[in-house]
Symmetry: C2
Subunit: 408 residues, 2 copies
């Protein structure tokens, strides 16, 4: 029951020169489902990543950080579902290293050139034997046109595979960006994880790619929330193979900005797809905050609203119980906020004027907007020029059901 | 369906010399229910309060702050349910002032000696006419033995009235403390509010009482959470009439500590009663954090766990999905937390040893604890000596139903 989210069409997903994808049914947790993905990357690509800030970061995240900080010639990504290899201590690191080593041997590269990613149940040992046994099947499938299959392979509680592709012409040359992602909220039956992999055929030096990746994350995956929980395994990776005609050499100029905009567009579409397919989601809500002092202040207010269970249940009920939004603005932690300068709109309906109910506001106008499946809340703080948006969902019975299901 | 919470017995609630309570059915939102409470306070009492930090604080909260900052001879509290008088701007202040003025005239005191409290629907005008019309009935009921009726009067979504009384002998003299409170989570059909009024016959100077009230709040109402939302109207008031034999003159010594302990005990019992009667609560959960660097660090971790919708749904399902707790510890914002030093117990079951699953931990042991209606999660951070506890509930289908109900 995703909110206005269609499965991507395989034909719309452009191959990216220098990237091949292969999948397997390794039976990591359950048999008969795709749960293992190998992405083989051509020699000389740049790879950048942004990872969870959770202090209980999973073993694969620790390994990714270590390997990206060292040499940069990454040759493969190894992704499994069914087990997050988190809360597993030293044994988890051993298992992740062994998995990478097995793939490296099969691909003829060094284990340090393989980055691991895991999602699924936590605090249980990664079944390395089954994972390794599945690798030959995944490698036999490797092909450049397998993005949709790859999107299917990394799904967990997702009800719709998430993939997005764009080709843009920059300065007369065509650049391709294709990505896949998985959500959603926290993974049934267990832990959260957001994973996203975007590849492009542009050539981008590693440090520049890292800056672009961070910037794209801040405009996409760092602007969505379902339940406020941050997973131990969240990872957002960008691969630049350099096999196409476009080369990004500096962090300014038309070329850089055009490429950055395309990357942000793909990342944001995938991030929003995660929200549209959020656990139990019936509404897709944009919380837009304007006239803040800084963008981080705007984000703080937007997140307070987007995280409020009371706001989210009101949206689930299509109840224009808009005082709950004001209350969330009030506890967002802005000590010198002046309520009398705050305006609020629900889509085109002017609800709060100068901190109080607008005299002309009619409940039926609020009700009309609340019944829609896509809604924009706009809050103006009257403090400055900065603005941002956060995208979120409502809180429904299905959210509780999904997350309360016993893991069996 | 409160968790092990019985209605108090009127006989167990001691009168407090210098305080009388009277109620009325004023029809503020609905007819035929008690919705107006007057507490008359004898001349010369001290009154202290701790209020919501929400920047959209309601009109009555703004008036309370103003009046407590001025002269301290408060003679009456005026409490209504059915309307929070919040998000009402200047008109809300006018309405609150008019209500106090009307009560002051009937009681023969100054309007500035009356403190107003409101809870109920927000962003709607307070029906001052109906409130004022109800005052004579409330005044005609004024009596010292009406604490249980007062507890009934301030109920909103509460399913059980909340009142608590203690008599302690301090240095050979008896001191009485009696209080009432209301929760719970956010009030159906609208906004949150936690209100608590505790009276004692001890004599305590206003500044000292303010310090005691703050200290008690930090050990009780500032250590509970249902959904993390902070209301526009939350108020915790302590009245010291000085009509008994005990006098607290300094902020140290046996007398002070004994009185403080009694006040904290009453406040904590009322705070915990709010949690036990939380919206949709089926479990009463203590999140205890030990070995933190500071108490505020311990509270930060405890709140991260207590606020996590994933942790809360797992408890609702009695599912020992304990990785969710570790994940919440990990994103609590302690940048230098060392996972390998973290231990976790669920009641007496040692679940996490040195940051990973304890080798001897059996899922059925976790399951056995999770099925209980009262559970203690104990987290040891291995960083220092500080500790604290936060009390919370699970997140159930009923929570969603209660808060998604349309306000009609």
């Amino acid at each position: 029951m995703a909110v206005k989210l269609l499965a991507p069409d395989a034909m719309s997903l452009f191959a990216v020169a220098g990237v091949e994808l292969g999948w397997a049914e390794a039976g990591i947790r359950k048999s008969g489902r795709k749960d293992l993905l190998v992405m083989r990357i051509a020699d000389g690509a740049s790879v950048a990543g942004v990872f969870t800030q959770n202090r209980f970061a999973a073993a694969p995240v620790l390994l990714c950080r270590e390997r990206l900080a060292g040499a940069h010639n990454i040759r493969a990504l190894l992704v499994n579902t069914g087990n997050a290899n988190a809360g597993t201590g030293e044994a988890g690191l051993v298992a992740a290293r062994a998995s990478c080593e097995a793939l490296a041997q099969l691909l003829g590269c060094d284990a340090k050139q393989v980055l691991p990613f895991s999602t699924g149940v936590i605090m249980e040992a990664l079944p390395t034997d089954r994972l390794v046994a599945g690798l030959p099947q995944a490698i036999s499938q490797l092909a450049a046109d397998q993005w949709l299959q790859a999107a299917h392979t990394i799904m967990t509680t997702d009800t719709v595979p998430k993939a997005m592709s764009r080709q843009v012409d920059i300065d007369g040359s065509r650049v391709t960006l294709t990505g896949i992602a998985k959500g959603a909220g926290m993974i049934r039956p267990d832990m959260a994880t957001m994973l996203c992999f975007i590849a492009t055929d542009a050539a981008v030096a590693p440090q520049l790619l890292q800056a672009l990746t961070r910037r794209a994350a801040d405009q996409s995956f760092n602007r969505i929330t379902i339940d406020g929980d941050t997973s131990t395994n969240d990872s957002f990776m960008v691969i630049a193979t350099g096999r196409g005609p476009v080369r990004i050499d500096t962090n300014r100029g038309i070329l850089f900005e055009a490429f950055s905009a395309a990357l942000i567009e793909v990342a944001r579409a995938l991030a929003q797809a995660i929200i549209r397919d959020g656990e139990g989601a019936t509404k897709f809500i944009e919380v837009r905050v304007e006239q803040a002092t800084t963008e981080s202040e705007a984000a703080r207010v937007a997140y307070a609203v987007a995280h409020s269970p009371l706001v989210k249940t009101a949206f689930f009920a299509s109840d224009p119980n808009l005082g709950r939004i004001l209350a969330a603005v009030g506890y967002a932690g802005i000590a010198d906020l002046e309520p009398a300068r705050v305006q609020m709109y629900l889509d085109d309906v002017y609800v709060v004027r100068d901190g109080g109910r607008h005299p002309a506001y009619l409940e039926e106008d609020g009700q009309r907007v609340m019944k829609k499946s896509e809604i924009v809340i706009c809050l103006q703080l009257g403090r400055g020029q900065a603005s941002t948006s956060v995208w979120t969902t409502d809180l429904s019975h299905d959210y509780v059901s999904i997350n309360a299901d016993y893991r069996s």
